[in-house]
Symmetry: C2
């Protein structure tokens, strides 16, 4: 193996404090130059504090110096904007129009499904006034960063997460902002967060077809949207507005997911359709997109979400849903 | 009874085409002057089409001419803005922060409870991108109006309703607006709709603490808010943001309502707490406001909402909730 390749492999073992993802995963390695047994490494300084830079420099020198044929190592930090570092294969927004149908749940399950299959995944929580993601994943760390950007926080299973709730003084503090500020926050989460190399970034949109959805559809390079609904007629009426919006804006609908589709009652061994008959096929037709799953109301899942342990969830429906998600994103290829 | 009083009583029988509420109820009678057996009546022309004015003029002349001691009747229309006509005792906003917890349901049940007790009630649907009210009440009539304003549509039981969905070409058309337009629509529903005399106007807010909630709290003379939540921790976290917002803006929280509190399963005669233990008392404490009710998940109610027949609902929990609502609004007195 050539020395440069060996160096890059070694850099893949240097973890960045905070997210604890590697220099390679975060795409911070800008250049590796070798000449006469001296290795010069240029790293992006984006969002790294001075202490983090010192720590990374020391670690980098240590692992590279160990390589046979290396005499000297020079590590230099260069200023690069996060948006120039990020290499994201697919950006998928989860939307609904209607609130409380389980957008955040579906966005999270989708990320977990992809992560379990070996994909590198991030979640951008675009629900600025009602962010649910950190609670479901049990994440309370504050993202580190400086004036040039922020590093995402890593979940227990290694999913990158950025949410306004990680930046607030307390998780129930209100964000009383009008649309332009909300749009700005979402744009910053896109441009100023070091997502690094990702197979898929999942965006959890808030309810409605107003500022947040518009900003995401107009300014982010999204591959498509996943639309979530429940079987109530009242809900499907409003969810159709979201489908209409996506169609008007020329954004492909990659699939639809029915949540709260039924409740299994073990005492009587029955599935009860609490909110009416499934609208799965009808919604799939409206959206001209596949039905990716019918998720039940699952008190166990509700409990795991409240406890911050959604990543421990498994069930037969989830396995089937995972498979469908992977098939709906045909062009996503695992990075590693 | 003095003649003027008799005239006003007669005008209370003249219904306005469209909402079919009386001239008196809509507060369109600006002046009644009697001199020498001639009655001069000035009516507000606000939002009335030329045909409606002709119809009202003819009906008014007919009923007043019948009165003993009346020889001649003159009806004149004057230009008055709706906002100058409206006399609304209490404006109550139903909010949550979180979507899908049942704000529209609680707003509707609240209006129905008050109406059944003899109060005059209206609902202003401030959820511009996800309006649910017309579907739940089965209302499809288009509001009539002209360049000066609009008349609300009356529900089957006589509740005044205004919603963006009554103005769209189809109920699933998307409203893809940024915040300023949404705020403007809400302000217009307040200023340019002839609500007339109401004991209570219920405002159904969208999820979140952004433009719509801000506009309602900053520009409308609201008496207070009712906060809706469900027992999931994840939900109560976000609902607390709404409570914080109300407190920051100095808006009193009149009460809190727990929705989807439990599910009664008749086959095993059991109440199951699907989304976790009740958070009712804890939320009441957080909001420093009474717990007005714990509403169950009721498939029958979901069905009635989908059918547009929410006004047919009755249950023991609803009766108790109605009583609590009336007690939470101590200063509301029936108008008639």
């Amino acid at each position: 193996m050539a020395l440069e390749e060996q160096v890059r492999q070694a850099l893949g073992e240097v973890l960045v404090p905070g997210p604890m993802r590697s220099l390679v995963g975060l795409n911070l390695v800008r250049q590796v130059a070798i000449s006469d047994q001296q290795v010069n490494i240029a790293l992006a300084a984006a969002a790294l504090s001075a202490e983090a830079q010192d720590w990374i420099k020391a670690r980098t020198e240590a692992v590279v110096e160990k390589l046979p044929g290396v005499n000297k190592v020079e590590v230099e930090f260069t200023t690069v904007k996060p948006v120039e570092i990020n290499e994201i294969n697919h950006v998928i927004a989860v939307m609904s129009g209607k609130g409380g149908v389980g957008k955040s749940l579906v966005a999270s399950l989708m990320a977990i499904a992809l992560k379990r299959q070996g994909y590198e995944v991030g979640i951008l929580d675009a629900d600025i006034t009602g962010p649910s993601i950190p609670r479901m994943f049990g994440i309370t760390n504050r993202p580190s960063g400086n004036e040039t950007g922020m590093l995402p926080v890593l979940s227990k299973s290694g999913i990158e997460v950025m949410s306004i709730n990680l930046l607030l003084p307390s998780e129930d503090a209100a964000v009383i902002w009008r649309g332009p500020l909300i749009s700005k926050a979402i744009t910053q989460f896109w441009e100023e967060v070091v997502w690094g190399k990702l197979d898929c970034l999942v965006i959890d949109l808030p309810p409605g077809t107003a500022d947040a959805s518009l900003t995401v559809m107009q300014t982010l390079p999204i591959s498509g949207v996943i639309v979530v609904f429940t079987p109530q007629d009242l809900t499907t009426m409003i969810v159709k507005k979201a489908v209409n919006m996506a169609q008007k804006m020329g954004t492909p609908v990659l699939g639809v997911v029915e949540n709260m589709s039924y409740l299994y009652i073990p005492e009587i061994d029955k599935q009860v359709e609490l909110f009416g008959q499934s609208k799965g096929e009808a919604m799939a037709q409206t959206a001209s997109a596949p039905l990716l799953g019918r998720l039940p109301i699952d008190p166990e899942l509700a409990r795991l979400c409240d406890e911050g342990n959604i990543e421990r969830y498994s069930s037969d429906t989830f396995t089937a849903f995972s498979q469908a998600i992977i098939e709906a994103l045909p062009k996503v290829e695992a990075q590693h």
